[in-house]
Symmetry: C3
């Protein structure tokens, strides 16, 4: 069994953003030399997500509005977590979008459906944060 | 390390449905010959889910009502994604229910709790779609 | 490839609670002897979660209020599942928080970000329930 580990770093200038990372993860798979296995791709921060969905700007706008409706940023005072913090909503948005994805590797490539793209979802940006890519297989 | 891959295909006649796939995944585990390992089971489409919950018709009805409340299908015009599409809500419903499950294999069997059943969740049906089953282990 | 399996048992006296299990999972990793691999940690019950987020009491209070807003316990009669049951809301809360986490093992340790902690999320307690820890790797 082989294993591989890499961190992907981000510094998103806005509070929220969705960034496509499929090419970065594909590169990791290539570097790992693994032909058959699994890749775990997870946010290492608790106000961010890794998720799989469509690479479509309209949908990303819709997600942003929708998440804000389900877990509003303001008023800040509605959350007990917001004592010296203002990111309680980000901890909730991330639970809806999820922390991680696990993707199959088949014949040395990410085994994704036709429209599946991997995204980093930032909900409390404006600082350096990272994603872990861990691969096991043969 | 052994690996195994299979696609399960669906063509749901309605827009939304929940279909139990535990027996199909159990069959895959058997075919794989893996005694100890992990099985990844994920929707290959971004308007569908694989999730684990109860095999109970009342609950599935409740899920349908609840998801419609959290991410309503109509009015279509509330979503920017709905330009030549009408399935923005399906992309949201699937994030709540999740893309994938990872299940342990122990002694050659799915290592599930007493009420755990694996489901395919369709949120934009009436066409052919599929689930990936990937197994690694020994 | 090595594999390891352990069940963690809980008997939460209240209906809902969040319990930190990072030390228990770390102990499993140690016992497994696995240096590089993956650990799957999942609720074996369908009204409970395993998730990763912050070890902060204010946030846990906020999660409880927020989940109750998204999937209210009462009125019981709003859910068809509640025939001889009163836990339909718990099946929904668990879908938002998720069933499982997959965590990388690197150099014999859980490969977590600085604030990542693993929690058992109970949404229908007052009885014995369990979490599965399954490790594969080398």
């Amino acid at each position: 069994m082989n294993s591989y580990r890499k961190e992907l770093w981000f510094n998103v200038p806005s509070r929220r953003a969705f960034i496509k990372i499929t090419p970065d993860v594909e590169e990791c798979v290539k570097e790992s030399g693994v032909r058959e296995g699994l890749v775990l791709c997870n946010a290492m921060h608790i106000t961010a997500s890794v998720f799989i969905n469509d690479d479509e700007a309209g949908l990303h706008h819709d997600y942003d509005i929708w998440l804000e409706k389900l877990a509003p940023h303001e008023p800040l005072s509605q959350y007990r977590h917001n004592v010296g913090e203002d990111n309680a909503d980000a901890h909730m948005k991330r639970q809806i979008m999820g922390r991680e994805v696990v993707v199959a590797i088949t014949n040395g490539k990410l085994d994704l459906g036709p429209w599946e793209q991997i995204f980093y979802g930032e909900f409390d940006g404006r600082r350096k944060k990272r994603v872990l890519v861990k691969i096991i297989g043969e």
